[in-house]
């Protein structure tokens, strides 16, 4: 009488695919970064769903760790974006494709 687990997995897969498409089609570094956040969240959803499916808490603990790592990653990533913007006054990823000067 509960919602089947597979529905949550499917929702997670759809969101992950949308995040992937976002990473591939956007040119703005900030929007690419937001798409990566979307992917991380989709995986968290899958982890929690599997945790419920197996009646164990390990999936939730892993999702918790993944949230902490995501927070750290956002901090560093945004700092890199700010520093790239300072250097070339643009955060279009096509402008910053040489990784040098």
């Amino acid at each position: 009488m509960r919602t089947p687990i597979a529905y949550f997995i499917m929702l997670s897969g759809i969101l992950f695919a949308m995040g992937t498409v976002g990473v591939l089609i956007r040119k703005n570094a900030l929007l690419i970064f937001m798409s990566v956040e979307l992917q991380l969240n989709a995986v968290n959803l899958a982890l929690v769903a599997f945790s419920r499916m197996h009646n164990r808490l390990d999936g939730q603990v892993l999702a918790f760790f993944s949230m902490v790592v995501a927070a750290a990653e956002v901090v560093v990533g945004l700092a890199i974006i700010v520093s790239v913007y300072r250097r070339r006054q643009s955060i279009n990823v096509d402008d910053a494709r040489t990784l040098r000067w």
Partner: protein, 193 residues
């Protein structure tokens, strides 16, 4: 129809729609706001999956802290909606959409073959969550996952320091001679204490 089914079918379309809107908005602020909507719907999904602690953490950390950071950077950089439309690779957009659809189909068939669409969550999660979900998570976190938990705190400190180092403005060291040459003091300024 049981209540959690209704909640799922209300929030899942909102989740997908807000993700789609986030992908298609030109304006970075609008995209960030749609992402907030998406994070909230995922938080609701956590609640449906009997993870109230993660529900709270999702709202506090993601929708609160991380999105504020995002919006702060968007405002700081003054990003306007001026994104170049021309692709560098020919047909990149079309290929991305095709591959994304293929990925969804792949997940669909994998799920159907793996766990099937009829499988419901087993009962007995109340015993796992005995004493409350937060307490059970804390027990797990401070016993079997204690070492990763401590490593996480190191990771956070490293990330904070890295962000400060990366985002700081490079201040040029100025010698006293250069400072004096740039703005020579008048005799009155030198003499007054």
């Amino acid at each position: 129809m049981p209540l959690d089914n209704i909640v799922f079918w209300v929030f899942a379309p909102i989740s997908v729609a807000s993700a789609f809107a986030m992908l298609t908005r030109r304006n970075a602020v609008h995209a960030a706001l749609f992402l907030v909507v998406n994070l909230f719907t995922i938080a609701v999904m956590f609640l449906l999956l009997d993870a109230p602690f993660l529900f709270a953490v999702q709202i506090i950390v993601y929708a609160g802290a991380i999105m504020v950071l995002f919006l702060f950077v968007i405002m700081l950089l003054g990003v306007d909606g001026d994104e170049k439309v021309r692709d560098r690779l020919i047909g990149q957009r079309a290929m991305a959409v095709i591959l994304g659809t293929g990925f969804v189909l792949e997940i669909f068939f994998a799920v159907r073959a793996g766990i099937g669409f009829g499988l419901r969550a087993p009962a007995g999660f109340d015993q796992v969550n005995a004493g409350g979900n937060t307490q059970a998570l804390a027990t797990s976190l401070f016993t079997s996952y204690f070492f990763p938990f401590e490593v996480t705190s190191v990771l956070l400190i490293v990330a904070a320091v890295a962000a400060m180092v990366l985002a700081q403005r490079k201040a040029k060291a100025v010698t006293q001679a250069e400072a004096a040459a740039a703005a020579p003091l008048t005799p009155e300024e030198v003499l007054t204490p």
